[in-house]
Amino acid sequence: MYTFSNKLRLGSFIAMGLGFIFLVIGFMSAPSTVEEAKAMVAVHDDGHGGGHAEAATESHGDQGHGAEASHGEEHDSSHDEHLLSQLKNRPWSALYVAAFFFFMISLGVLAFYAIQRAAQAGWSPLLFRVMEGITAYLVPGGIIVFVILLLSAMHMNHLFVWMDSEVVAHDELLQGKAGYLNPTFFLIRAAIFLGGWIFYRQYSRKLSLAQDESDDNTNFVKNFRWSAGFLVFYLVTESMMSWDWIMSVDPHWFSTLFGWYVFASMFVSGITVIAMVTVYLKSKGYLEDVNNSHIHDLAKFMFGISIFWTYLWFAQFMLIWYANIPEEVTYYVARFQDYKLPFFGMLVLNFVFPLLVLMNSDYKRINWFVIMTGIVVLFGHYLDIFNMIMPATVGDQWFIGLPEIGGILFFGGLFVYWVFTALTKAPLQPKRNPFIEESRHFHY
């Protein structure tokens, strides 16, 4: 049995506390009037490279489009209000990005776990308890994301412009989409997705623990069937989730492979966290039977899925960029103009770095190498989510400051606390998994 080390527990509490304070400061310092917003931008402009006015018109493209066209002459004042809403959105976006990021890690691990179960993989059963520990965060993480979506639907923030009936009234495209994109149906879908994922997670965990105590393999077989069924449900719902929760912040823009792209991001982040938690537990003397071949396999997945992510990212980008259709290409124009550093930095962190560092097969077996690459990859995929949400919600007013760091600290702390608490609940090595011997002797 694993015992949660006091140092780590304390660390997670400190992170949560600090993150909470940062987030509160972020919310408090958001402007509430147009004058305040203008004053803030005036102060910031020096450091921000100026050029606000021209950049903002570009990033408007999507959101206030309908509203703007009808306002023509009042452009100036509507522009200021737009700025206010961007600045008000910033702490909410920071909260949402971090909440979604850590939730997505546990969802990615759940998918990986279900694949191992459905494929009856022989190498991985030793890591099942680690994966189950990480997926435990699905419950609080999912509920938090749902609450944020609920607050958006209650107009506490403007993350999703299509939720604003004022905007929809002036926007023919959004009116056409209203049958699907309306707050009620949106929340019902979110509840169905989360309900299904959490149900599978809890039930599979129950079967997994029951298998340890039983004297036949019925629980194992049942788990296999549920996992295969879950994967079908997951592939459909994950895709729809990515349209709903992420793509709809740019409600005019769409990409047909967006679901896969988000999936690749969560899959590689999840696998990275499995590897990092495994290496951590091994360094503390747990998981004696996990050998460096297991780590090698996880690192191979990190390497492979990083490249898969890049492939999808590029496939999406190239088609839209060279098709050059105005309502589609603005998505990238906004990112090229206002998000140069996070946008291209993310490519370096998520592609170039893992490609070069994890290419050598010997390096995949070196623990500190895997941890170091893991940290870089996780940061890169945080930036990926950041780049998906921020351009639509805060435009060129982005910055990685207190609310963003606070979000990472708070949810990171909660994630660590919840995952490691779940790890203490059951022995780290499954006893009666029929493949446990194969996994123990896994050697490459």
């Binding site: 590029f314 190239m318 060279y322 098709a323 050059n324 290419m359 050598n360």
Partner: protein, 175 residues
């Protein structure tokens, strides 16, 4: 110069693996093992050095990438400047995304083909080469271990029979 070798035949890969480990433990130098299929872990048991083909593959990939960059730069930018995707920048860097598929494919193409050719040459296989395997049965269901002799014929034969060989013979080998 012809050298004397002893050859032991086995009909099971597990027996062969144990035999290889035992012979190595007795400090005899195994010259070669002929098998009808790749035996997992045999290279490690024989103490062969790790393959360096991965390094050559990386270098060939770099070569392919360079060829692609130089080629596309010449064709699409210098020789006959093209307006790609309605973005007439005429700079390689700004048009680079359009060339990524070509850069990728040529990297893979060079790495794969040159690696295979390197592998054949390094294994000393080329067209019209006479087969090296000393016994035709090694292409079917037998495994053959070959050890160089240094006036220790009887001692080695005894050891090989002990390891479960189905046949042991001494022959001259051209080399």
């Amino acid at each position: 110069m012809a050298s004397k070798v002893i050859q032991a035949l086995y009909n099971d890969d597990d027996v062969l693996m144990h035999a290889v480990k035992k012979v190595r433990a007795e400090h005899h130098h195994i010259e070669e093992v002929y098998t009808p299929f790749p035996v997992h872990g045999l290279d490690k048991a024989m103490g062969l050095a790790d393959t360096r083909i991965a390094i050559t593959s990386f270098l060939y990939g770099c070569l392919g990438l360079t060829v692609a960059v130089v080629m596309m730069n010449f064709i699409m930018i210098e020789d006959w400047p093209q307006d790609i995707g309605g973005k007439p920048s005429f700079s390689y860097l700004e048009n680079m995304p359009a060339f990524v598929p070509i850069m990728f494919e040529l990297t893979v193409f060079f790495a794969a083909h040159l690696m295979v050719i390197t592998f054949y040459l390094r294994s000393r296989m080329w067209p019209f080469k006479k087969a090296e395997n000393p016994d035709k049965r090694t292409t079917d269901d037998h495994f053959l271990m070959e050890i160089g002799l240094h006036d220790n014929e009887n001692e080695l034969a005894e050891l090989l029979w002990e390891t479960g060989a189905v046949e042991v013979k001494v022959t001259e080998k051209e080399s």
